[in-house]
Amino acid sequence: MDAGEALLLLLLIPGGTMLLTLFVPSRHANVVRWISLIATTATLIDSIWIFAVYDFAEGGYQFDLQYPWIENIAFLGENGISLHLAVDGIAAPLVLLNGLVGFAGVLVSWKITHRVKDFFILFLALFTGVYGVYIGQDLFFWFFAYELAVLPMYLLIVIWGSTNKEYGAMKLTMVLVGGSVLIFVGIFAVFAEAGAGTFDMAVLREVNFGRSFANTFFPFFMIGCGILAGLFPFHTWSPDGHVAAPTAVSMLHAGVLMKLGAFGVIRLGMEILPAGTDFWMPVLLVLGGVAAVYGAISAIHQTDLKFVIGYSSVSHMGFVLMGLGTMNNIGVNGAVLQMFSHGVMTALFFAMVGGLYDQAHTRDIRVFGGLVRKMPLFVIFFGIAGLTSLGLPGLSGFVAEFHIFVGAIDKFPLFAALGILSAALTAIYVLRLMGRAALGPFNPRWESLKEISRWEIAAAIVLIAPIIAMGVWPDPFIDRIAQSVADLPQVEQIGGLFTLSSLTGG
């Protein structure tokens, strides 16, 4: 499959729209909204197309596209810095995820009235950056896109946010930039050590980095990217950032941005420095397992809806890191499934919380009660997200977590057990939240609440569809992911350890 232009479109459509929007007078707010909606619709269609057309039987990197930019100058050799795009089976579902969450994000941002034009420009910048990370194959542009995805967050939170927003935004930015510094150092170390004079990841993947070099620089990628994935103990930027951020930004933030971190661990760490995985991946597994339990226990104590979901994200991203840390095909597969599943689920959570907050102007779960009477659809959608997060079979969370636990039990049975326990703890805080806020006696203070708007309903449906699809029929996802996971170096292939025929000796 050589239709790399489809990937280029993923960058050109939102990037171009962003530039186009600059020329729309800011008093035409609706024009800006519609332009953004059209752009995200187009990228969603493009993303679905890429996901569907990706040939999983063949596997590997497809839609390859490379334009050299700077080469054969000074220390740069052939293809020194180039615009190199490609997707593999791991990136394909994440591209789809970004399309879905971005589209839904524009829908729920419809009600923003303050500096509409600026909001959508920054939103699209962020959106483009995320795509750039998923499809980038050149470290230079990869890093550029990574920063493009992180930095607009500061402005988005400070201008349109709420609740202690300066603090949240500053902390988020500083901590993430701190991670970027590590990545930056790592990238140049890899570049220098390889001595190929190129930032092209396809070339760097082929280089055989020594064990001691890999052991030294693997943590630069693991921690640098891990920070973005809520790696314990560098996770506190995430709940505070969620609480401060406006709805759509929370959605993108938890839905796709945190996945960039885990994705970076795969792309930079596991693919480029496989020799470092032996030592460092068990560390990642332990930290992930700790985050899974720790986040869940913290969430039990929270009273702010967004804090509950923020810590829930820490817990679920802990599962992702745990899955990666297992370093076997089932566990890593589960981690990628969980990235997708958690992405749509948490975006749904935040979309719903936004729908409530904009009317009620509070997120304290203790003051609500019996909301189902006023907002039945809100409760159903929120309930679906909640059930997904507690791992109810038939929804996407179960499929993902199940793979992670199966993968982990092979070498780390204790952590698999901890993971399963923290899935049970999830039930406690999700049901506590639902029981307090959505069910129970109706609190007459909320007589004036109305059902969430149709834009939010549309966004919810867009996000629920993949949750159910993946929960009921995960094969399209697994087919794509499994092949690429199997291609990762150092990933162990496990399946059934014994088969029935080996039992009976036949």
Partner: protein
């Protein structure tokens, strides 16, 4: 078309009904209840086709088990099947599920109305009811543990939604949450057990796991644990079973689950979902048998539960709660039967219990629906106002107590026989005490509900016999209560086309013949009668002063029983004093140590450093010159040191 090869149709029908009701139920006439009833009826009818084809195989000597299905998750050698199996254990369960589901569906069309007007969310009730039937049938027919787990969680969700059906009531929400979380804790064990078995055998298929365990391959793993592996895995599975089947110490959720509508209690919390644990153990009994000590654990838990719950039921005043504790106790009996390896007998008791307990719940629902009162102390003297309800309730109580020739007598009697065969006399005697207790608490309930003088005039005025849609299920279940006990006899089984009585149909590994020992039957019958007599002695009319006297004689003991041995208080203490403080400590740690110290402190340090440094930006040339000199001197000195 061989029906048993297409058993997936059974869960598919109510699943479709759920989808239709979920999407359009609100707009359909009568909330679409006829769709749910129709689906249940279709399942009930199709069951007999499945039964027939299963019996055909047995007759043709094709073996009792048939697996069909397709792959659900499949990559490399890691396969999860969407497979269904029909064997004799499944057949018994499907019979129970389809029959009780149909009765409850019919019953609910009236129960969920007040004076002919449907309650709010009438359509939602039937939608969830359909989903429950679909999930329960999937659970029963699943041929692998993972699909079973999927359905297992599905029925848990439906139970949650239906317990919380009256969600405006805080107590209903709390009960729903408690039920879900408690069973979910057991499910942690179940899930770990499933994955541990997968790790050892590479399969989720029940048949593979049994084969591997019997071949001794589960313990052969060279890695961790060694001999303990099989024990650990099996006990983990049992944790799930105990959670779902409300065994001590997980039993606390079931009595609270009575917050749900009564027909739901009959279907989910008496006849079907709560026996899923029994069913799981029965399914995997060969694994339990080869696991050292596992059978004894099952036996001990079952016996403890049977006794404790029997005692707790004595001091309850809410009709439904008495029945709930009774259910817990009877589930204990089933686990005792499994503990001694009598799978056929456990399934037999499951079968008989399902019908009389469903009948009892529906009967109590009839009382509650008409009188709007469920505190037995305010009822009384109802039998002549509600003769049909009263007589069906009394007959079912007699069956539960184990008076011949009703069904409960046969199944309990067989449990005694099996216990005496397989375990020891002490167990049998303790079980006898539990049987005595069940006669006692049922008789007490019947006496204070239906006999004696009316205690509340407003209640007795409201009491009238219920509508036919409520009475027909009651009568139907009572008839089954009469008849189903006789399937223990080979002649009856033969006449129905089975290969003999239930023990010749459901068995592992060898069929047991039905042994009817006159001596044992006489003893068990006498124990039950004794229970009735004791109830009469303590509770009939003025005799209740004796019950009061006992309570005053030992007030502390009475308080312990009335407070259900303080299990709920212990859990509450654990939640208040352990879990929530832990959550508070972790949150505090996260805020103060991780965030404020780990993240903010470097930021603050930077800020103070900047604050301090800016006083050195004075704007005066001499200061800068001085700093430059110092800097150059330092750099030079450093270079000198490094080179030297």
């Amino acid at each position: 078309m061989i029906w048993a090869d297409h058993a997936w149709i059974l869960p598919a029908i109510p699943a479709i009904s759920f989808v239709v009701l979920f999407l359009f139920g609100r707009k359909l006439p009568r909330g679409g209840d006829f769709i749910s009833v129709g689906a249940a009826l279709a399942v009930f009818v199709l069951f007999f086709f499945v039964l027939e084809s299963h019996l055909d195989w047995l007759g043709a000597g094709l073996g009792g088990i048939r697996n069909v299905g397709t792959d659900w998750i499949n990559f490399d050698s890691f396969v999860v099947r969407l497979g269904f199996t029909v064997d004799s254990i499944a057949i018994v369960m499907v019979f129970v599920v389809s029959t009780v589901a149909l009765m409850v569906n019919i019953y609910s069309t009236n129960y969920l109305r007040h004076h002919g007007k449907p309650e709010p969310r009438y359509w939602w009730y039937f939608a969830v009811l359909s989903l429950f039937v679909a999930a329960m049938l999937t659970l029963v027919l699943a041929d692998n543990l993972l699909l079973m787990f999927v359905a297992w969680e599905g029925v848990g969700l439906c139970s949650f939604l239906l317990i919380g059906f009256y969600y405006e009531r805080r107590s209903a929400v709390e009960a729903a949450k408690k039920a879900f979380v408690t069973t979910r804790l057991g499910d942690v064990g179940l899930f770990i057990g499933i994955i541990l078995f997968w790790r050892a055998t590479g399969s989720f298929q029940i048949s593979d796991i049994i084969a591997a365990a019997e071949a001794g391959r589960v313990n052969d793993l060279p890695q961790v644990m060694g001999d303990g592996y099989l024990t650990l895995s099996t006990l983990m599975l049992f944790l799930g079973a105990a959670g779902k089947s409300a065994q001590v110490p997980f039993h606390v959720w079931l009595p609270d689950a009575m917050e749900g509508p009564t027909p739901v209690s009959a279907l989910i919390h008496a006849a079907t979902m709560v026996v899923a644990g029994v069913y799981l153990v029965a399914r995997l009994l060969p694994v339990f048998e080869v696991t050292p000590g596992a059978s004894n654990v099952v036996l001990a838990v079952g016996l403890t539960t049977a006794l404790l719950a029997g005692i707790m039921a004595l001091a309850q005043n809410d009709i439904k709660r008495v029945l709930a504790y009774s259910t817990v106790s009877q589930l204990g009996f089933m686990f005792v039967a499994l503990g001694v390896g009598a799978v056929g007998i456990a399934m037999f008791h499951l079968l008989t219990h399902a019908f009389f307990k469903a009948c009892l719940f529906l009967g109590s629902g009839s009382v509650i629906h008409m009188t709007e009162e469920q505190d037995a102390r305010k009822l009384g003297g109802l039998w002549w106002r509600m003769p049909v309800t009263a007589s069906t309730f009394i007959i079912s109580s007699v069956a539960l107590a184990g008076i011949p020739p009703l069904s409960g007598f046969f199944s309990k009697d067989e449990i005694f026989v099996a216990t005496l065969d397989g375990a020891n006399t002490v167990v049998a005697i303790l079980l006898g005490v539990a049987a005595f207790l069940s006669a006692l608490y049922m008789a007490r309930l019947v006496i204070i509900t239906f006999f004696g003088p009316p205690k509340d005039i407003a209640v007795i005025r409201r009491a009238r016999e219920a509508a036919p849609t409520i009475l027909i299920p009651l009568v139907f279940l009572t008839v089954l209560t009469f008849l189903v006990g006789f399937v223990a006899f080979d002649q009856v089984g033969d006449a129905l086309g089975f290969p003999g009585g239930i023990n010749n149909y459901v068995y592992f590994p060898e069929p047991h013949d039905f042994h009817f020992y006159n001596s044992i039957a006489a003893v068990t019958g006498t124990v039950s009668l004794l229970g009735f007599l004791t109830a009469w002695w303590f509770f009939w009319g003025r005799n209740s002063r004796r019950a009061r006297a006992v309570r005053e004689f030992q007030p502390r003991l009475a308080a312990v029983v009335e407070n259900k041995f303080y299990f709920d208080e212990a859990y509450q203490w654990g939640i208040d004093r352990a879990m929530l403080p832990l959550a508070r400590i972790v949150s505090w740690f996260d805020r103060m140590i991780v965030n404020d110290t780990g993240i903010n402190a470097p930021a603050d340090a930077t800020r103070y450093a900047a604050y301090w440094l800016r006083y050195h930006v004075t704007g005066r040339i001499p200061d800068y010159a001085l700093l430059m000199v110092v800097g150059v001197a330092l750099a030079g000195g450093l270079a000198f040191l490094l080179r030297g």
